[in-house]
Amino acid sequence: MISKNLYLILIISAVFAISFWIGFNVNLLPAEASINAPIYDELFKILFIIGLIIFIGMTIAVIYSLFKFRKRKDQLGDGIALEGNLSLEIIWTVIPSIIVLIIGLYSYNIYDRMGGMKELNHSHEMMATNTEKIWAGISQASNSEFVSNNLSVEVSAMQFAFLFNYPKGEFISGELHVPVDQKVSMKMESKDVIHAFWVPEFRIKQDIIPGQPTILNFTPTKVGKYPIICAELCGPYHGGMRASIIVEEESDYKDWFNKNTKTEVSL
């Protein structure tokens, strides 16, 4: 009996060890390029490890049962007449409930840190009134209060392109240029069908809905060029509806901005 329990403990420890090892060493995610990304990856890692423990544990239990309790030749009769075990059933009701509740509270915390529970506002200098109804979106990650500068961009999506309007410079670009480590606030609206704005490296996505503006805020943290992907089926060329976001150093961004801006030319 003691050796049986010892085996059980050894197997459970091995499952935990393998799951933790995989969880910490196998990276399934793309580069982290926004403030949201490391927060997301923290949640992913935890869910991945819990998931691995349950999956590996259940798979071992099934395969072990198939092997250990298989019917041998000439073996007649039935297995034990075990119809249930109340304490076991209570255990596997209560423990998953607690796990699910903890995961739920933890992901609420993650979501809050990403800025999901914040009041939505679009800090747009040129917006005449603030009474315009903002439908939904993701606000700014809360651990980025140090970011003082704020870039506002208006995004319009249509079949099959994104256009980025820089109200400060009064110009429209097909590429989204943003300075690194600065908060970007986007107000998005669709001209035709539903689209979605997704940057995998930023771990953010928001639908762009016709008739209802949505908000998306983020702060890029890594210089580079990342794809902007439409994630909502929008027609035949949906797969080709791409744009690029170029995260650059402040000075490079200013050069680009000045090259494009109409306000300066008109002065």
């Binding site: 119809e83 609420y108 909502e232």
Partner: protein, 541 residues
């Protein structure tokens, strides 16, 4: 005209054609209707599977080069619609429900045999209509979700035919649901209590409640959508002041419960199969019943988790996260109970058992990614990507379709009186299991790394993983060959199975195989312990 309930069975059945022709007739026999559902569903599965193969061929290369882009969208729309409404829902509900429920409650037929036949005969014409829409002006191309405004702006004829077809199929589903509820509640043999019913009855009771409560919402929504398309009303059309997000709420109010309409019957079927082949009682009957009802209640209040990136206010995101994640609890109970059913048994490792165990492993995987997807911050990144595609195929294919195959191996002797070849069955399982996991496991990575769903083209960096997935799909297509060979060979030359080849205790096995028209020659047996394996009393029987 006199209607005599007593003579209904024998009189009408004497007018019915005999032999295989009865499967093409307006038969009122629940067993014939069950087989009609199964064969019809399987034919549509072959069509849906062909479309899936076309998708995987297109995605074997990064460019959109196999078919035109609008045809690709039609293919993915038809694939989803056919697999859900013409294969999985009719088969796990209609086919096995019709065949088994009257046996399980000790009745000679369903409560409303004519409604039952009508429910089936709605399916072939609406299915053919849906497929035919491709040849008229092109099928619907807004995905099976048919989100407006895309569904309003794409070519109209395909979308309208799609709506009519889904409405008819929804009607068929409601007729079936009413019939199952009435049969389980009212047609039970005297002396048979609800808590003595085989678990599949409880699963079908829960499923039918979901069907009756949620399908009418889909019907109403699609009627409004069709008004927007043909009469230019503005329910969902933003140009006319409509609201596209309201459509999503209404659509998912049906379509999330639809997931449980597809998996709860499978939970019921596996609860019948595992005890028989492991020679042990079903572990935790009462908790199984409560967890089914728990899933029914929770399943109705989780729909907005499909809309975390649409216009959903933060509080709503939070509520639906918690509600969705809690479905894992009753679902988890069922899986632990099934493993406990295996534990200490005398397990026959045969095709039915292997497919059921494959189901457990695949579904646990899909359930885990499901709990992850329920978390708003997690979902925001992977929503509408291949991660989601992988997740729901683990649920509906790795889960439900595995159980459909398991059930076919388990009940084939019941229907035909012949045994299926175990060698071919195990080969079928091996190819399906490997092909399925090869096809869908890599798609999780694709979604996490930036491949959205419903695209005909993608970044070249994803080509290798997509090709692995396509090879898996090829294996899945190949796996139907040993299955079909097995079916035809077994029908023709299969070994005689006897009445009860598995020594099962559930009531459908306590009659001849195949059963007589009236199900039992004499009185229906009173089975109070359908899972009484290992007990001295039941072993005497």
């Amino acid at each position: 005209m006199t209607i005599s309930i007593d003579s209904q069975g024998s009189d009408t059945n004497s007018l019915q054609p005999k032999g295989w022709l009865r499967y093409l007739s307006f038969s009122l026999d629940h067993k014939v209707i069950g087989i009609q559902y199964l064969v019809c569903g399987f034919l549509f599965y072959l069509i849906g599977g062909t479309l899936a193969s076309a998708i995987r061929i297109e995605l074997a290369s990064p460019m959109s080069d196999f078919m035109p882009r609008d045809v690709y969208n039609q293919v993915l729309t038809l694939h989803g619609t056919i697999m859900i409404f013409l294969w999985i829902v009719p088969v796990v509900n209609g086919a096995f429900g019709n065949y088994l429920i009257p046996f399980y409650v000790g009745a000679r037929d369903m409560a409303f045999p004519r409604l039952n036949a009508v429910a089936f005969w709605l399916i072939p014409p609406s299915g053919l209509m849906l497929v035919a829409s491709y040849f008229i002006e092109g099928a619907a191309q807004a995905g099976w979700t048919a989100y407006p405004p895309l569904s309003i702006t794409t070519p109209q004829s395909g979308q309208i035919i799609w709506i009519m077809s889904v409405l008819l199929l929804g009607g068929s589903s409601i007729f079936g649901g009413i019939n199952f509820i009435a049969t389980i509640i009212k047609l039970r043999r005297p002396g048979l209590k609800l808590m003595q019913l085989p678990m599949y009855c409880w699963a079908m009771l829960g499923t039918s409640l979901l069907v009756v409560l949620s399908t009418p919402v889909l019907a109403g929504t699609l009627i409004l959508l069709s008004f927007d398309i043909v009469a230019h009303t503005g329910f969902f059309n933003p140009v006319l002041g409509g609201n596209v997000v309201v459509y999503q709420h209404l659509f998912w109010f049906y379509s999330h419960p639809a997931v449980y309409i597809m998996v709860l019957p499978a939970f019921g079927l596996v609860s019948e199969i595992l005890p028989v082949h492991s020679r042990k009682p079903l572990f935790g009957y009462t908790t199984m019943v409560f967890s089914i009802m728990g899933i029914v209640v929770l399943g109705l209040v989780v729909w907005a988790h499909h809309m975390f990136t649409s216009g959903t206010p933060p509080w709503m995101r939070l509520f639906f996260t918690i509600a969705t994640a809690f479905i894992a609890v009753p679902t988890g109970i069922k899986f632990f109970n099934w493993v406990a059913t295996l534990w200490g048994g005398k397990i026959s490792i045969n095709s039915a058992m292997l497919f059921s165990c494959g189901f457990i492993v695949n579904f646990v995987f899909g359930g885990i990614t499901g709990v992850a997807l329920a978390q708003v911050p997690f979902d925001i990144h992977v929503h509408d990507t291949y991660f989601v595609v992988a997740h729901f195929h683990y649920i509906v294919y790795g889960g439900t379709v595995f159980i459909i195959f398991s059930s076919i191996y388990h009940w084939f002797p019941k229907v035909t009186g012949k045994l299926m070849s175990e060698k071919l069955g195990i080969l079928h399982f091996a190819i399906t299991f490997i092909g399925f996991n090869l096809c869908f496991a890599p798609q999780h990575w694709l979604g996490l790394n930036g491949m959205p769903r419903r695209v005909a083209e993608y970044d070249p960096q994803f080509q290798f993983v997509n090709q692995i997935s396509s090879i898996g799909a090829l294996l899945m297509a190949i796996s139907t060959i040993p299955f079909l060979v097995n079916i035809f060979l077994s029908i023709k030359n299969g070994k005689d199975s006897g009445d009860n080849p598995w020594n099962a205790l559930t009531p459908e096995w306590l009659t001849s195989s195949p059963p007589p028209v009236e199900n039992w020659e004499g009185e229906a047996p009173l089975v109070k312990e359908p899972y009484g394996y290992g007990k001295p009393i039941t072993q005497e029987n």
